[in-house]
Symmetry: C2
């Protein structure tokens, strides 16, 4: 099926709205105790964010024939993990950021203790949703595989480990290989997991397609972070929703800082191509995933 | 089977050593990157702690016929969640404690950012272990039930929610019902989950026994926290391993502070009896669980 060039935008809007509704449903209401904790969780998750990871879940679902209803759980769960990581990364003891997505960070809008707990509670809610959501799958082994994928991507070989490497690198020189390792963990792992989880929920995906999607997710995940760092160097603070030039100010070694802006653009472009090439076995089914890869590498925010 | 009165101590030592070995196995080695994060995780988990929750797992296993090998995963996972909660609770933005189990708290021994990340990584490692440990069960539905039990017990209706209520209550008056609700979530939920997880792993446990164990776990969980607060009022800092009289200094409403020491002792005793009564359907199989309840309520540390 061929779509018009602007249909990615329409799909993005559709799936952003879909995951927003799912998150609204899974997050505990403010009417339930402890109200302030629930309020902070909802503040950190709802109403902002590009929802790239959930959109990747849903679009992978389109490519492998999994209906969106079955992916609400994984899509919301990965966004909860992402949101928790932003809350904790923004804390004074970490990156000490006051602004996120154009709004005060959670510890600024609430307080540090509440922000720490809101992050903790979001992380575990992600796993509760994956363990419980009835629509996801009737196959308990597939459900366990989804849980395992998200856990590994969030742990010390994935996101939490990447953030530790990031903190350790601040103020120090780092070779490009070290930066790529850090990026692959800090951002890449969760983006790749968004794709892999959707493939794991699918009733039957041939091994070749699953591997193709895995390669796509890993290449795109690294590209995403390089573009993020490029936006910090070249971006418009108003579009990006947070201060730019922050990495250099914080003496963080990033791809564009170490290799130069031109080389960073070239690397992002090469990774985008790698992601596109990986999708070859999926032919036309993966067109929207291809458009999303382009969109991610060419985004200005 | 009847055991000699001193065999609880021997069993405690045996299962403490067993879960220590399991934790050692599941925790990532310091030789793997990021080394400092792994070091902090190991520091926070290994070599100290009473291991009450893992012991409850193993002893419940004895009562329902589940061999300890199958409970290494749940026992280690619940201890990881407990350890992560201690790391985060001790942070300057939370209880601001310098000493835990007679040693510097994790953020004192390392730094705040590493402590936050170590807590985050321990929480998710618990779920990775439950999703992956091959010895636990061959039944994926039982495995999912264990994951769900631990997730709910750790979230806003359990531990994280209890800590939020605790922070909100500091400096404020709280009725006894409010204190019990806070305790049931903050400490009780995870202790009850230790019992429930072991029952969920068992190949076949009659519904009556499962409910009996649930009631036991819930009563014991609340009793545990009341005794903890009593130790803060009456205890010996050296035995307890952290400063005592800290709750009153921090103006935390606790059971003994609000109801008085005598009433708190009476309530702990009544809850212990409730836990013992609950075990009636399990007759002799639950003798060690009975002894453990007595041990928990009569402990001096």
């Amino acid at each position: 099926m061929t779509r018009s060039p602007d249909s990615l935008q329409a799909l993005l809007a559709q799936y952003q709205a879909r995951v927003e509704a799912a998150l609204e449903r899974y997050l505990p209401p403010v009417s339930r105790s402890p109200a302030r904790l629930h309020e902070a969780m909802r503040y950190a998750v709802l109403g902002a964010g590009k929802r790239i990871r959930p959109v990747l879940c849903y679009l992978t679902g389109e490519a492998v024939g999994t209906p969106p209803l079955r992916l609400d759980g994984p899509a919301a769960a990965v966004e909860m993990i992402h949101a928790y990581s932003l809350i904790h990364d923004d804390l004074p003891a970490m990156d000490d950021d006051d602004l996120r997505r154009g709004r005060p960070t959670t510890h600024r809008a609430f307080d540090e203790a509440t922000a720490i707990l809101a992050g903790d509670a979001l992380q575990v809610l992600a796993f509760e949703v994956l363990a419980s959501d009835p629509a996801m799958t009737q196959d308990p082994s597939a459900r366990l595989e989804v849980i395992r994928l998200l856990a590994v991507a969030s742990g010390t070989q994935g996101m939490a480990g990447g953030q530790a490497l990031d903190l350790a690198a601040t103020g120090h020189a780092l070779e490009l290989a070290g930066i790529e390792d850090m990026h692959r963990r800090k951002t890449g792992a969760l983006i790749a997991a968004s794709v892999d989880m959707a493939a794991a929920v699918a009733p039957s995906v041939e091994a070749g397609a699953r591997q193709a999607l895995g390669r796509y997710g890993r290449a795109l995940g690294l590209a995403f972070q390089i573009v993020d760092d490029l936006l910090d160097v070249e971006g418009d603070a108003e579009l990006v929703g947070k201060p730019v030039r922050a990495d250099a100010a914080a003496r963080k070694p990033t791809y564009p800082v170490v290799a130069g802006v031109a080389a960073a653009h070239a690397r992002a472009e090469a990774l985008c191509q790698e992601a596109l090439d990986a999708l070859a076995p999926l032919d036309g089914r993966a067109d929207m995933l291809r458009q999303l890869a382009r969109f991610i590498v060419e985004r200005r925010q």
